[in-house]
Structure formats: structure tokens, C-alpha cells
Symmetry: D2
Subunit: 268 residues, 4 copies
Amino acid sequence: MREKGRSFAEALSQAQALGYAEADPTFDVEGIDAAHKLVIMASLAFTMPLAFDKVYTEGISRISSEDIRYADELGYRIKHLGIARRTDHGVELRVHPTLIPQRRLIANVNGVMNAVLVSGDAVGSTLYYGAGAGAEATASAVIADIVDVARTLDVRPDQRVPAAGVALAEQGDTLVLPEEEVVTSYYLRISAHDKPGVMSQVATICSEQGISIEALIQHEPTEGEELVPVVILTSRAREACLREAVAQIESLETVEGDVVRIRVESLG
Amino acid sequence: MREKGRSFAEALSQAQALGYAEADPTFDVEGIDAAHKLVIMASLAFTMPLAFDKVYTEGISRISSEDIRYADELGYRIKHLGIARRTDHGVELRVHPTLIPQRRLIANVNGVMNAVLVSGDAVGSTLYYGAGAGAEATASAVIADIVDVARTLDVRPDQRVPAAGVALAEQGDTLVLPEEEVVTSYYLRISAHDKPGVMSQVATICSEQGISIEALIQHEPTEGEELVPVVILTSRAREACLREAVAQIESLETVEGDVVRIRVESLG
Amino acid sequence: MREKGRSFAEALSQAQALGYAEADPTFDVEGIDAAHKLVIMASLAFTMPLAFDKVYTEGISRISSEDIRYADELGYRIKHLGIARRTDHGVELRVHPTLIPQRRLIANVNGVMNAVLVSGDAVGSTLYYGAGAGAEATASAVIADIVDVARTLDVRPDQRVPAAGVALAEQGDTLVLPEEEVVTSYYLRISAHDKPGVMSQVATICSEQGISIEALIQHEPTEGEELVPVVILTSRAREACLREAVAQIESLETVEGDVVRIRVESLG
Amino acid sequence: MREKGRSFAEALSQAQALGYAEADPTFDVEGIDAAHKLVIMASLAFTMPLAFDKVYTEGISRISSEDIRYADELGYRIKHLGIARRTDHGVELRVHPTLIPQRRLIANVNGVMNAVLVSGDAVGSTLYYGAGAGAEATASAVIADIVDVARTLDVRPDQRVPAAGVALAEQGDTLVLPEEEVVTSYYLRISAHDKPGVMSQVATICSEQGISIEALIQHEPTEGEELVPVVILTSRAREACLREAVAQIESLETVEGDVVRIRVESLG
């Protein structure tokens, strides 16, 4: 979408024609397919059971070309990421559109290509990149899996090391962090009437929820439009605080419609 | 300074070595020389007496390389401009550093070159550009003036049309707008402690003075520095309101030192 | 054309609709209108008679969007310039599309705006910029001329200084340099079959005419096209030598069609 | 070097201080260390014996900041790559500085980070990226190898699948392509006297060796320098032909010193 400036519907129908999209487009668009892959990788990485029903998923259909442009001006790309992260309070499992700094390698993974970024304690960040769809690439992955299985065929079952390193029965339960507890930065886009008071009201609401404003840009209203798009980058904040702040902003008289909100990850 | 990333002192001493700076550097640096030229042009443009003592002048010595960089990121160049503008309430006469959108021709006038931008009612904007200092260019201008005088030598004095089109005696008095009444946009740089509350306090102060915030960027603190530089672009506001807002911001406990403020002109 | 990526025909018909184009479009497109203005300015600058029939004019209708793009990659803009220059061998009078380095102010004069660049011996380069078409701007210029005439109304005719500084009768004849004698750099675009030999043949032809190659870029052939566009920037060369080189290049078996050629001026 | 504009010696001594450089710096600088890794990966990828003594290695000590800049202008980055590629005539094994198009992910791998790009028949290109030096990252890799060994401890030796998929004894001999037979594009930098003839001589030499010139840029001589740096990008050519062409170019009277040559890979 970003490179060709295409609308979402065009981009989707072309992806389907090329055989890259799942038969049920909501699998791609709503992040279901990414969530499937995320729980497998989280299970391997954190030795935890598959927990598909605990993944928070958010689709890309509400991302507008306006947001892609504003994110670009702020130095970010928008990617549909699945994120599994172990924290002191539980494992985060979430799939959603994400602003990533343009200079990160993963921000430059485009088209049919996919990448997995792994952050380990000693090794630091490593990244694995390849075609994420298409007949040949998928067939290649399936054959590779069969080869892996075949290699262990005459190994005695009790000598096989399970994929996660621990037998399933021995895996303890792992707490998945409820989405409201997740802490991230946010991109917010507010449609406001251009009155001096609105910025101060928004800043006060954010401040009361302990959210700091890192950047705020008032863009030109679109031709023939009265409402002013205001874009805000917040500091890291608990999701619950952010939801409360957004609800209060949406109830302001000087603000129209819903606040667009997209999470931001620095992946530093 | 911008192109070579030099400090102010270096740039000044090189300009003096090259013979570009006035003998008394404050003439350039504090805008006195520009004010001299401004009153002559304002007199010709608006048929008003020379009013040097009514020009508001502000020098460039407080512009830091930090401000040049932040302005650049926002799409602006900083130029030391003299501005004479006829408004309904009086003529503005002011010399000060000014943020100008990078895409304007006048934002790309560098080094020893100068330009005069004239906005007429029917002709629109016209611009006159040439060397603004140096022995040869100055000599050329002096000779051109002598040629102009010589051409009128044998014209009968009573037939000469005065430069301003009207005899000095017939020129009425022209109100020069006090600087507090001038309306412009502003670039503000605040050194703040990074607490969620500070943005909301600043936004509230601006709002109470009828000043809208067009953009606000919180930059990374410099290495080993605790204070966060916050850059704000304001809507157009009366100077008196802005001064009041700045005084209140400077008195906040979460803000340290003076607020840097530079006027912004779109020259659209 | 460059900014909107429009074709020549679209750009022309829009300019006509806006009242910017001359009634006879060839006046603009073929540079006739520019030639009219050029001879007036040359007459004032060099105290020479109006010499419209000696102006070399070349239109813009053959400039393709491909050339605009290739010029851009090399750091140039293409502008339709009228050039009058006094040389030791005569005055150059020519109107043609010209590649100008992007960093020059005059390369950034777009749309309906025009600029005149004057290079004097002592003053160096000066530039005069304003709207070059449109009802109001044209009316403003006409009124300004009438005011100038009116100011001299009661001056005794024998005391008037002629515009050129010298009475017409006293103006000597000025040699206009034939176009073949003019020395400039050139942008050449050749459509070649992709064979190793062609570059060496072209380089040998240029070398034999005393023309050095400053840059040579072989671009990708357009989709479904076999011919390779080769773009060359030459050193400064006499027009006659360049014409001979182009004729020989066009006669090569490995080259198809005409060589596109556009003059280059550094305006340094 | 590119990002900080540092000289080679500075960059090396800082890398040593940080513990990133091998004890014997020639291991890094001359590509010995990269060659070690290359033959292991080639052995796994192409089921061939380790063939360290057949690797062509070329160091980075002759890359100048000038070449980094010229490559940048042409849209390339210079990276020290190890390349193993199976061709119809044998396997290429070579380590050398390489120009890579800037838009490739691998061109944006900087600092201590390393990446391996694998092109498979069905899967296409995949890339593996991570820290290539440093105590913790190295320790992590060593531990991972030990874990892998431990996992196979109680597998019966005759049931283990060898790393390359085939027992060493059954591996046939694989022809390593002599460096003279390798076919790549080339970046050449020639120091020439600025005479029209030199370009035609160079183009003729290239043409006689079947080498086509894709781009040729004559740069400005450095201050106080008479020689003109001429940069050439060639089409793909056999190394032997290129060596012959370079020898002939170096023997031209109009050319001084050695021709700098760096291979170019599009990695498309």
C-alpha cells in the first residue's frame, strides 16, 4: 500500500489474484493467520502451551493512507506485527498494526516477504527473512518439515528431544498478560475543531492518566473539510490508561468521531 | 552556519576576514544595518518618513545550532529578515531571525547573497536577489546611484519626481505598529523536566492566551543532560499574548531557564 | 510538467485554460515570445539594435518525461531559457530548453513564475523574479510602464537619456554569433542496441571532434523495448563539432532514430 | 566507515578496542575469517569438502572514502562479502569488497551485525541476521552448538544424519571455479588526464574485451590535483577479460597509477 499508494481494497484483491492471500481474507486482514504462527513460536520460545484464544488480534482494515503518510513524516513505517514478549508480569501475545522506526531492517520488509525478529538474552537481536507466501516458497517449507521428520524416523521415540525442549506434560502454565496490562507507546489521530482550547484539554486528559506527549502535529484539514487532524505520539503507557484517555478525548465537544490509535514499538 | 555547521563566533570572524561584515559587528549581528535598509524601503513602498527609531530589532547571536537543526526537521530555514508590512492597524517594521518554509526561494538565499521580496496588490510576489556585501558589489551599487543622479542633472528641479512619488512635506504621518500588537506564528523551545504534567500545563497556558499549538515535538535530551528540549510551533498570535504565555511557562517549576522564541513567517 | 508528471499536451491545455498561454501557442512553445523579450533585454544590456531575426530559437515540444527524469537523476532541472551573452567573438542570442544544476535559484522557478538572471562585471549575479503571465501581473507591468513614461512627460526631449544610454543612431552594429560558433555543454540521449562496441564507437566519434564525455549512463530499456537509452553529458564544445558528432552517431548501425540533444548551462 | 566518515585505520583500532576484531587483524581485514565461514557454509550447501585453499580472498584495506562516496552516488553500498555460488562450470568461492544496491536489506547491515543471504531454488532468497562479534553473541553461538551436540548424544552413531546430509566419504569432488573464470560486473576508478581522447581509448579497450560500459562518471579533480577521477560501472564480464582490459588501461599514457576495481553484485 505504502509504495504504490494503493487503497486497501485494491491491495487485497491483487494479493488474492497472485495467490498470496488466504482463501478467507479475514485470516490475513484480521491477523488470524499471524496469530496462529505467533502462538507456535511463543510456545517454542517460552516453553508454554499453544494459547490461540488468548492472543489479542487487531486487523489492518482501519489503517488509512492518511495514517501511512503521517507515520512516514514522523519517521515510521506501519507493519502488521505479531508480538510475543516475556515480561515480569506474564507473556504478551498480540497481533496488530504497529509503527516501527524506518531505520530498522524489519521496517523495510515489503510485499510478500516476511521476517521474524528474535531478541535473546545473550545473542541480542537476530532476524530471519524470506518469502511468506506463494506456491513454491510454501512447498519448500513443507518439504523441509517432512525432511526434518524423516531424519528422526529411526531414532527411538523416548530419545527424541521434544521441539520445545521439554515434554508437553511437563510444561507449566504460563500467564498471558491481559491486553489492558500491556505497556506500549501510541500513535493517536484526533479529528478536532481548530480551537486553542482543544490541545490543552487533550494534554490535560493525557497528563491525568500519566501519559506524556512525545510529539503532536496539527495537520492541514483536507480540502473542503473543517476538522483538523491532530496526530500525537505518546510515551509508553498502560493500555488501560490509554483507553480511558481516548474515551475522554472522544467525549470532548471539540473532537469529532473516533480517535484512531496504533501502537508504536521501537524494537531498539 | 547551517551549511557548514559552524558556530556563530567562527562564522562571524570568517565574515570579517572576508570583508563582508561591518566594522562594528553589532551592525550586522544585531540587525542595525538591516534596519537602516528597511526604513528606506518602507519609506519608498508606503510613502512614509524614515522611522529608524521605531524599528523593532532582534539579533542572531542567540540562535543555536540546535534551533537550526530542529527548524530543519520541521521544514524551515532560519534567516535574519527585515520585514515592513502595511496592515489595517499600522505599518510593521521589524528585523529578527525568522523561520521560513524551506521551499520558498528566499529560504535558499545563502552566504553573502541577499534578497528583497516585494508583495504588491496586482503583481503578487516579486523577488530581487544579488550580492549583499563585498567591495565590488558595493562599488557597483554606489556607481549605479551616481549614474541615476547624473541622469537627472539637467532636469529642472521642480520637474523632478521625488523618489517616493510625493514631496516629503506632503507625506502624512504613518502609524508604526508597536511590536506588542504584531501578529505572527512562533517557534518556542522549552527546556523541561520530563513529566507528563508539563505538556498539559504548557498547553493550558497557551490556550488561555488564545494561542493554538500547531506542532509540539519532544526531542531526546542531550547526552548526560536531564532536561528535555520541547519544540512548539504556535498558531498566529498577538505578541503581547505570546509574551504573557512565555512568562508563565518560564515560571513553571518543571521548566528551566529561558524559553527560546523565534518568529515564523510563511511568506505564502 | 516535472512536478505533476503531466504530459506536454495536458500541461499546455491547462495553461491556455488559465489564460497563461499566448493565443498562438507556438509563441510560448517555440520560444518566440521569449525571443521577443530576449532581444529587448540584449539591446539594453549590450547597447545593440533589436535583432529578433538573429535569435536562435528551439521549442520545448520534444522534451519527454524521460529526459526530465534522467536530468533529475544527474542533478539538473530542464528550463526553457533565453540566453544573451557577450563573448569575444560576438553576442550569443538563443532560446532553448536548458539543463541547469538543481541547486541554482533559477532552477527552482516554477509554474507561472519567471526570472531574469543578470551577470555583471562588478556586481556579479543578480536575479529578478515575479509572475510572468496572468491578467493582473501583466496589467501591473503595463501601468508601471505608463507611469515611467508619464514621469518624463515634461522633460525636454533633448534632455531625455535614451533607454540604452546611447541614441539609437549612435549604436554601432553588433555581431551576433552564429549558432554553430556557440560553445556549450550538451545532454545527449541515444537509443542504442546493447552491444559492447557501441560505447566505444560513440566515445571515438566524440573524441575525434574534441568533445570529452563527462558522464555516460546506460539506462534500463523500457518494458518490452529492445533499445537501451544511453545518456551522455559532454564537456563544452563548439556547436558545429557537436552537430558533426551527432550526425555520425546517428549513422551508426547500432543506433536507432534521432539523438535527443539539450544544452547544459552551469550558470555558476 | 561510511556512517561516521572515519578512515580505515581509525575504524580498525576502535573495533579492536571493543573486542570485535580478531587478535590478528588480517583475519578480518584480509577476509581470512570470512573465508573460514564461507567454506563451511559452502560445504553444507553444496555437499562439498572444505576447500579453504581454493577461496579467492581480497581485503578491504584498499577501499578509500572516495570510493565509498562515488558508490553512494551511484546507488550502492560497499560490503565485505563472502560469496559461494554453484554455477554450471563449478562453484564460486570468493571473499572481497562488493558494491550492492542500497535498497537490498543486506546493504543495510552495519556495524557489528552480520547477515547470511541464501538463495534456494524454490524458496527464493532468505536472510539470516544477527550480531557477528562480541563476547556474549559468540558465547551464545558456542552454547547453542554444544546443545545441538548434546541432543544427539544417545542417538546411535550409525543413525545420525551427517550435517551435509551425506557421509564425508561419499561426497564427490566439486570443481571450484578458478577466479579468472568468474563472471561479475565491476566498478573501476581510473585517474586520468582530462583529454577528450582518454574516454574513447578506455571504451575501445573495454569493447575489444567484450565489456560493455553501463555508466561512466568523470568526477571533479580534488583541490590542487590535476588528475580526473573517472568511475566506470561495467556489464558482467569474465574476470580474465577484465584483468586484460585493466592492464591495457593502466598502460595508457593518459592514465596514472593503478585502476581501482571492486566487484558489483546485484543480489536481485
